[in-house]
């Protein structure tokens, strides 16, 4: 088997058994990146020298019998995580010259665990998008292809991370998810990805989009690999005021726990009008797989589901307009000179931000402005409370369900250029992922089947707050039953 096709679990075994060195595994990935990245554009910044130095350290640590948990595993880091000494753009021109003097907590923990940094993965500008086309560093191509040969979007905003993992040019990646930015691209590229509970991973050093929603999480090619990565990424951090002071459970062990005796909820409101019949069929297959594995299926209602998207498109831009006020051309980032300070601010921001970011800053500014705050922002926050209440009711301890099963996205990957004209149509991609983000509950997408064009489709498992273990258990059972083994056309292991 080509090492590029290994899961992280398999690679860790091979490294431990000295069947491969960290340097060899890293070089294999670096060659595959050189061959494929010019086409995929999954990385904004490649860091081969850093990767080689880290790989040598990993081999030395292993030789000394002191290899940490992820020693020698090559990863892509979404370019939203600050990395000390390595340019961090957030996909925006305004951060083009920004070289962070510090590491995000998540990347610092991954480095301490021995992971190798291959480079910084492309994303929608400031993580605002579902296609990766809003990046100032060019769109990313999905490594999967359909018969008409049109290049496909990898989803977003973690589109570079998803494309890199699917194309076997990284074994895993960090993503961030504000309204679906891990789960939707994972579904579009046939990989797994989990948005953990809000507060599980530190937000310190992650470029902020919407702080009450942003959560980091792993993307990888198996449920178990996601568990291995999440273990290294999560934990309490005093530098993030919303970081949860909770012990990190054994996520990896939970993957094989099974679903016997679990109650799985199927929310009626996720059966939307005009749903793709292939996706409906896959959802039904998922229900039957879990039933066969010993779970009880329960019809449930999450009555405020349809208000999730409109709430999100008030709350997220409101927080974004506030967070992005820091880009003023004074302390860091790009500057455009002006006649006075206000002129400098306005010119800097006009030149530095792309169209989607400006749109969201404008909406956010409007809904927070005097006279509209109550009608829009405050009302949206109240409906957000109702959405959380829906989940609390569904997950109630004695009468409720243990997890919820839904499709991840309403369609398979669309072609680059499709759905691009109308922002509201693009926003509909997140219809199934946004409610879990608003409620702060953990949710995972796993690849479960193919559509009529041979493109991957994902199923989403939603769990209780801080119960990622049950999410992994259900995802593990679905993964075993689905036996998803299809491969994308463009992949490092298929190069000659």
């Amino acid at each position: 088997m080509n090492p590029l096709d290994w899961t992280i679990a398999e690679a860790l075994d091979a490294l431990a058994a000295r069947r491969i060195s960290a340097v060899e595994l890293t070089e294999a990935h670096l060659s595959a990146i050189s061959a494929l990245n010019p086409r995929l554009n999954a990385f904004i910044t490649e860091t081969p020298e850093l990767a080689r130095a880290q790989a040598q350290e990993a081999d030395a640590a292993r030789a000394a019998g002191a290899a940490p948990k992820l020693s020698g595993i090559p990863l892509a880091i979404k370019d939203l995580f600050c990395t000390e000494g390595v340019r961090t753009t957030a996909g925006s021109k305004i951060l083009d010259p920004f070289i962070p003097p510090y590491d995000s907590t998540v990347t610092a923990q991954l480095k301490a665990a021995g992971a190798i940094t291959l480079g910084k993965a492309n994303l929608d500008e400031f993580a605002m998008g579902s296609s990766n086309i809003t990046s100032a560093y060019g769109q990313v191509e999905n490594p999967w292809q359909r018969a008409d040969g049109k290049p496909l979007a990898p989803g977003g905003s973690s589109g570079g991370s998803a494309a890199a993992v699917a194309a076997r040019i990284a074994m895993g990646a960090t993503g961030t998810d504000t309204g679906g930015s891990i789960r939707q691209p994972a579904a579009f590229t046939g990989i797994a990805g989990i948005k953990p509970t809000y507060g599980r991973c530190s937000r310190f050093g992650i470029v902020a989009f919407a702080s009450s929603l942003d959560q980091a999480g792993p993307m990888a090619r198996s449920t178990e690999d996601c568990a291995i990565l999440l273990d290294a990424m999560s934990g309490f951090d005093p530098r993030d005021s919303t970081s949860a002071e909770r012990a990190v459970p054994d996520f990896r062990a939970a993957c094989a726990r099974g679903v016997k005796g679990l109650r799985i909820g199927i929310p009626a409101e996720y059966r939307v009008d005009g749903m793709d019949p292939t996706i409906e069929k896959l959802w039904q297959a998922g229900i039957e797989w879990l039933q066969s594995a010993g779970a009880t299926i329960v019809d449930i209602s999450l009555p405020h589901t349809k208000f999730g998207l409109p709430v999100y498109y008030i709350v997220a831009p409101a927080e974004a307009s506030s967070n992005l006020a820091r880009y003023d051309g004074v302390r860091f980032g790009a500057r455009v000179d002006g006649e006075d300070l206000i002129d400098l601010y306005e010119r800097t921001r006009a030149a530095g931000f792309g169209a989607e970011v400006k749109r969201r800053i404008m909406i956010g500014t409007y809904v927070l402005s005097a006279g509209y705050y109550d009608a829009y922002y405050l009302r949206a926050q109240k409906i957000r409370a109702l959405i959380l209440h829906d989940f609390h009711t569904a997950f109630a301890q004695t009468t409720g369900v243990d997890a919820i099963l839904t499709p991840t996205a309403p369609s398979a990957a669309f072609a680059l250029g499709e759905k691009m004209d109308d922002p509201v149509t693009m926003y509909l991609n997140d219809v199934f992922t946004v409610p879990a983000s608003l409620a702060g509950v953990p949710a995972m997408s796993i690849p479960a089947g193919l559509d009529q064009n041979g493109l991957p489709l994902g199923l989403q498992v939603i769990g209780r707050h801080f119960d990622e273990e049950t999410v992994f258990a259900v995802a593990g059972a679905l993964e075993a039953a689905a036996g998803f083994s299809a491969l994308p056309a463009l992949r490092g292991s298929a190069l000659r």
Partner: protein, 95 residues
């Protein structure tokens, strides 16, 4: 509720974004489409509902009021577009 060009300019001013005249009609159309889409929230009964501002299932922590960080002007100024000594430099504000 529909935003007119004057309102678009006012929001842009609040957001410190310089817009060209050509950008106004496009933004006006897009923002009105988004506001039209979120209009459905007006139909939800929110009587007696407390607003939810955050995703964390916890109260914010307090920490000891002590200095935990600092004394690194070079690192902080390393990314500054312009500086004078240990200060960020901007165009003259007061004549």
């Amino acid at each position: 509720m529909s935003l007119d060009p004057a309102t678009i300019r006012r929001i842009a001013k609040l957001a410190r974004l310089r817009l060209t005249d050509a950008e106004i009609p496009r933004l006006q159309g897009e923002l009105n489409a988004i506001l039209g889409y979120v209009e459905q929230l007006a139909a939800v009964d929110v009587t007696g509902v407390e607003p939810l501002s955050g995703g964390a299932q916890m109260a914010l922590r307090l920490r000891d009021d002590v200095v935990t960080d600092g004394a690194m002007p070079e690192r902080i100024l390393a990314n500054a577009p312009d500086r004078i000594d240990n200060f960020f430099a901007v165009p003259k504000v007061v004549e």
